[in-house]
Symmetry: C2
Subunit: 226 residues, 2 copies
């Protein structure tokens, strides 16, 4: 209850550590290749080794870190190949979601989305990259929920995490972010119009756009890629 300015104190220490480490990895405070250790993380966060261990195991499940038994744990490097596969899977799921959304879309979710887009547009104009990404996530969550398939979001979530890590390097400027917001609007317009093909195509372009800068980013930061 005491105002958690930002560090949401989730239930268990393990979960808190997990979200905190995830944030740090996606935000590139922990750069790919960084060596971690249960003990160090535990000490640094003032908890025991057990929660730290469980957090690292969770992160290894979503391939944000790689734990090498009896050797150590490292932050996984960005893999172009895996990101291409990730985009492929995400495109398959999210285009299917928007297609379904054209048939039937939950009204509450539909209204929420308008608000999300508006707020996201403001953050985009302000160049607030982190808040922009937070509302981007809310948009895609509401899309899945509105289409009646929250499970789709659970599948997409981990994939999006990796894409977000790349986006941290892409350093979108305000116009680029505004363009992405406009793509969200295009998707929603197609859904409202009941145009499945148009919605799917808009989503496809949206996801393609996000990774377009990958070659440049890789050329500029080869040490972060594998």
């Amino acid at each position: 209850m005491a105002g958690n300015g930002s560090g949401a104190t989730a239930g268990s220490a393990a979960q808190r550590l997990e979200t905190e480490l995830k944030r740090a990895i996606v935000g590139l405070e922990l750069r790919p290749g960084t060596r971690l250790s249960e003990s160090e993380i535990a000490d640094r966060h003032g908890v025991s080794r057990q929660p730290a261990r469980e957090a690292l195991i969770a992160l290894s499940r979503m391939r944000l870190v790689e734990v090498l038994p009896q050797r150590g744990t490292v932050v996984t490097k960005i893999s172009v190949g895996r990101l291409m596969q990730a985009r492929f899977v995400r495109e398959a799921v999210e285009t299917a979601v928007v297609r379904r959304a054209c048939d039937a879309f939950d009204r509450d979710a539909r209204e929420r989305i308008d608000g999300f887009i508006d707020v996201q547009e403001r953050f985009a104009s302000a160049g607030d990259h982190d808040s922009f990404q937070r509302y981007d996530e809310l948009f895609h969550i509401a899309l899945a929920e509105g289409a009646g398939c929250p499970l789709a979001w659970e599948v997409v979530r981990d994939i999006k995490t990796h894409m977000d890590r790349l986006c941290q390097l892409t350093l979108f400027d305000a116009p680029a972010m505004l363009a992405l917001v406009e793509q969200h609007r295009t998707i929603i317009r197609a859904i409202d119009a009941g145009d499945p093909d148009g919605a799917a195509e808009a989503m496809r372009q949206h996801l393609t756009e996000i990774l377009r800068a990958m070659p440049r980013v890789e050329a500029e930061n080869p040490e972060l890629f594998e």
Copy 2:
């Protein structure tokens, strides 16, 4: 190396426990609603509570169990709604996979598949449900790998696990299993013919078929559903 006849002794105790528990849950030896406990599992398998705990956490991530803090852990009941969503997501991913397979398909994987289907057909004729499912899994793995998207399988795997649990209740007879094998052949034929729409439609029907018995199964075993 040394032939692991069946009880594949994976690396860590936690992982061994996880696969063993997963097998037991999918095989309905641990029925939905069963109460578990870290201590009991640890004792029963002759290890400490820690590996048992990690295994349960892993299973809770894929929603095979639900752990209620300070209260207990239960095997999740089968949810019709979630299974419908699961089919939706799986259909989205796997139809995309077969479409891509029509463009380019790895030759080694292609050859492996023929073998898988033949073996699976034999198990189907023999009415060996477990082995049938094992080769069904190998088929879908090879499909994803052959299409160059092993990540797609990782996404589908957990979903398929839940569908497999339902299939355990469906009690396919030999003709039904042979029909499913024939659907596999239809998918492959469409891929060989370079017919994306045909392949996708065949996959769609295949996945629809699997869940067709769900209403009957739910009516016969209401206590296993939520």
